[in-house]
């Protein structure tokens, strides 16, 4: 269960925590784009991925989250690796990197396939880490306020963005509560003899029903009571509300934006011009 709760907000006052959520959202997009760009050859890719990795690690250290928690949340990506390896192994290759790593029943597995799979995996890891940095350093309410700000243009189309933002922030608020419910129901059902961990897939699927049904029921009861409580405290999605938390744009936000934009621009330039630093600066051809 703890891996699901990973991206939860960690209250610190790091420079990243203090940034405007709107800034952080744009920076996330810029950095994810940078991470997923393709380059001229493997050596450049290696260099740029290394740079991105370094950047992400620095950012991660700045939020003061534990690296152990990062590793824990990346743990679940291992099946992605197998999936990617499989995809790349069965895709015919036409590039020049045709060193065969090993054979499976006379079927050649190229180093290139393994490298490509690893490349995608590292990028996915970087993306997960970046998202974690965002969610761990930003209060859910601030995050929804940021998203709402970006959605505000469609407010004029008659969409109640404030209400949708409220729905989103309530969903985030109730994740831990519903996880507690899951654990409680699992314990209750286990004590009645339901085994969630062992047995054939069909048996376990049936066991899961005994978890899902009460969970849905209790969530419906919760949402009903929550609705009453919100209405009782004067919530009306159609009326004008004020905001306790104001989003403010500081100098730090500008600096963060410029840095992220610069990094993204560097990556895009390198990618578009197929710039090879090893060849240009050192005259070495590395594949």
């Amino acid at each position: 269960m703890s891996s699901i709760t990973m991206g939860r907000y960690v209250p610190y006052r790091s420079p990243i925590h203090l940034l405007d959520p709107r800034t952080k959202l744009v920076c996330l997009v810029l950095l994810v784009v940078s991470v997923f760009l393709g380059y001229a050859n493997y050596s450049t890719t290696f260099l740029m991925t290394g740079l991105s990795l370094l950047l992400v690690l620095v950012l991660f250290a700045m939020t003061r989250m534990s690296f152990l928690s990062l590793l824990k949340s990346l743990k679940s990506l291992w099946f992605m690796l197998i999936f990617l390896l499989l995809i790349y192994a069965i895709t015919p290759r036409s590039d020049n990197l045709d060193w065969v790593a090993f054979f499976i029943y006379d079927y050649p597995i190229y180093w290139a396939s393994i490298l490509d799979a690893l490349k995608i995996l590292v990028r996915l890891m970087l993306m997960v880490a970046l998202s974690l940095i965002l969610t761990a350093s930003t209060k859910p309410l601030d995050l929804t306020a940021g998203i709402e700000w970006y959605l505000s243009p469609i407010h004029f189309l008659g969409v109640n963005t404030a209400a949708w933002a409220m729905v989103l922030s309530l969903a985030l608020r109730f994740i831990p509560t519903i996880l507690e419910d899951v654990q409680r129901i699992m314990k209750a059902q286990s004590s009645r003899g339901v085994d969630f961990k062992r047995g054939k897939l069909t048996v376990r699927a049936r066991a899961l029903i005994s978890l899902v049904v009460p969970l849905v029921v209790s969530s419906l009861v919760r949402s009903d009571e929550l609705g009453d409580a919100m209405e009782g405290r004067g919530y009306d999605p159609r009326s004008k509300r004020t905001r306790y938390r104001k989003l403010t744009f500081h100098w730090g936000d500008l600096i963060a934006l410029l840095l992220c934009a610069a990094f993204c621009a560097l990556c895009i330039t390198m990618s578009v011009t197929s710039f090879d630093p090893f060849l240009t600066w050192f005259g070495v051809t590395v594949r």
Binding site: Y9, P11, K139, E225, A229, G232, G234, T242, R243, Y244
Partner: protein, 281 residues
């Protein structure tokens, strides 16, 4: 004549059209500044009544009269009335809207469109009133049920209501959390004598704290009066599946043995009198 906070006459309510009546021709009134308890067993309709008073259910039967601070729930008054009422519900989790104590207290203020620059002051004041000022930035999952319920109370008090409805506000708490909430309510009442409180509960000990008690059973009010008056009707209470408070029962048992004390309903008072009695002896 005293000003009335709540006036209910011939109130009936059913969830479905022509369905069973959850509330059946109820009439009562609450004076401004009173502390009234409404007790009833599960399914007696007491939570429904709380929700009707708070304006959450508006489909009451015609002929019913419901006035709060001399206003009835109609299009122009309903938001005004809701502004005067604060309600604390039973489940501590299901009324915690914000992702931290601070945000949760702010939620009600935001709904009332209060100027954000004034919110911090109000939030800190009401958090202090319930003793949660050190937890302002805590997330709900790090708080106990009693603490969450104190936050719920703070969220309601921040809006300075004239009528405080407690809908089983302590029934999911442990004895300590329960005592804390009740003593906070008492404190608030002492500081603001104009505050009208209607505490809806199935706990007779809690009801014993009130000035006036209403007993609801199967959608009807079967008894009303001061605590002593109500708890002397043993037969009716038994029919409503309720007991008299422990202190009252003990007082009665002592009286039967010739030890006459001022039949108090509160354990503390009884304890004090017992001590005085034994020292006299």
């Amino acid at each position: 004549m005293d000003e009335l906070a709540v006036e209910v006459e011939h109130l009936s309510f059913s969830y479905k059209e022509n369905g069973p009546k959850v509330l059946d021709d109820i009439s009562f009134s609450i004076k401004k500044g009173d502390y009234v308890a409404l007790i009833g067993h599960n399914g007696s309709g007491k939570s429904t009544l709380a929700r009707i008073l708070a304006g959450l259910y508006t489909e009451i039967e015609p002929n019913s009269l419901l006035r709060i601070f001399n206003m009835s729930y109609d299009v122009e008054n309903s938001s005004k009335i809701r502004g005067l009422i604060g309600i604390v519900f039973q489940n501590p989790d299901n009324q915690f809207v914000g992702s931290s104590v601070r945000d949760d207290i702010a939620f009600g203020l935001e709904n009332r469109a209060i100027d954000p620059s004034k919110m911090d002051e109000i939030i800190e004041k009401s958090a202090k009133e319930v003793g949660m000022e050190e937890y302002l930035d805590q997330a709900p999952e790090n708080l106990s049920g009693g603490q969450k319920q104190r936050v719920a109370l703070a969220g309601v008090l921040a809006l300075s209501p004239s009528l405080l409805l407690l809908d089983e506000a302590t029934s999911m708490l442990d004895p300590k959390g329960k005592r804390e909430i009740l003593s906070l309510v008492k404190e608030r009442k002492k500081e603001n004598p104009d505050l009208t409180i209607l505490s809806i509960t199935h706990d007779v000990e809690e009801a014993a704290m009130a000035d006036y008690v209403l007993v609801l059973s199967k959608g009807k009010i079967i008894l009303e009066g001061t605590g002593e008056e109500v708890f002397s009707h043993e037969k009716e209470l038994e029919e409503a599946n309720l007991d008299a408070p422990f202190a009252y029962e003990l007082g009665k048992a002592l009286k039967a043995r010739g030890i006459s004390l001022s039949s108090s309903l509160e354990e503390d008072t009884l304890l004090e009198e017992l001590c005085q009695y034994s020292s006299k002896k």
